[in-house]
Symmetry: C2
Subunit: 147 residues, 2 copies
C-alpha cells in the first residue's frame, strides 16, 4: 500500500467507521483511533449508554485499548484521531497518556477543550479533518433524537 495513503484523512475515516458503529447502537456518534507509525493500536467508539458509564467516551476507551496493546501507561509517539473535538475529560486523558498529536474532525463549541474552554496544550493539534462527515453524523443523530 502506498505510504501516501496513510495520511490524516485515511485514519480519520477509520475513526468515522467507529462513529458509525456508535450511531447504529444509538450512542452519540463519536469514534477514535490511536496510531503508532501508521499502524492502528487502539480503536473505540462512544459506549456511554451501552455501559451505563459517563466516562466511556471513545477517547478514554481507545487510550485504555492502546495502553493495553502497548503494555505501558504512556503513548509517546502516538497520534489520536477523533471525529469530534475532545471534551475536558478526554483532553485531560490525552495529556496523561502523553499522546504526541491530536487530530480531530468537527469542532464542539459546547464542550470542546479549545472551542469552549480555551485550554492550551503543548501537544500539536489539527482540527477540521473530514469535518463535514463527522459533523453530519452528529447533526443527524441529535435531529433524530429531537423528532
Amino acid at each position: 500500500m502506498d505510504p501516501i495513503l496513510f495520511d490524516d484523512s485515511y485514519f480519520m475515516k477509520q475513526a468515522i467507521q467507529q462513529a458509525e458503529m456508535a450511531y447504529e447502537k444509538d450512542e452519540v456518534p463519536i469514534g477514535a483511533v490511536i496510531t503508532y507509525e501508521n499502524r492502528i493500536i487502539g480503536r473505540a467508539h462512544n459506549q456511554v449508554e451501552q455501559l451505563n458509564d459517563p466516562t466511556a467516551h471513545a477517547e478514554i476507551l481507545a487510550i485504555t485499548a492502546a495502553c493495553n496493546f502497548a503494555g505501558y501507561k504512556h503513548l509517546d509517539g502516538c497520534t489520536i484521531y477523533i471525529t469530534v473535538e475532545p471534551c475536558l475529560m478526554c483532553f485531560g486523558a490525552i495529556q496523561w497518556a502523553r499522546l504526541s498529536k491530536i487530530v480531530y474532525g468537527a469542532e464542539e463549541p459546547k464542550t470542546g477543550f479549545d472551542s469552549k474552554h480555551q485550554l492550551q496544550t503543548i501537544i500539536p493539534v489539527i482540527g477540521g479533518i473530514e469535518s463535514a462527515t463527522c459533523s453530519a453524523l452528529m447533526k443527524t443523530f441529535f435531529q433524530s433524537k429531537r423528532n
Copy 2:
C-alpha cells in the same frame, strides 16, 4: 450509628483508606468514594500502574463503579469524596456523571482543576477536609520515590 457520624470527615476517612491501599501497591496514593444518602455506592483507588492505564484514576474508577451499582449513567444527588483535588480529566468526568457535590482533601497546585486551571463549576465544592492526612500520604510517597 449516630447520623452525626456521617459527616464529610467520616467519608473522607473512607477515601483515605483507599489511598492507603494505593500506597501499599506503589501507586500514587489517591482514593475516592461516592455516596448517596450516607451510603457508599462506589469506592476506588488509583490503579494507573497496576492496569497500565493512564485513565485509571481513583475518581474515574469510582464513577464507573457507582454507575454500575446504580445501573444508570448519571449520579444526581451523589457526593464524591477524593483525597486530592481532581485533575482536568477527573473534573470533566465528575461533570459528565452529574455528581451533586465534590469534597476533596489536599489541594493539587500542579494539576488541580481549580488550583491549576481555575475552572469554574456550578457543582458545590468543598476542599481541605482531612487535608493533613491526605497531603502527608502524597508527600511521603513522592519522597520515597526520590530517594
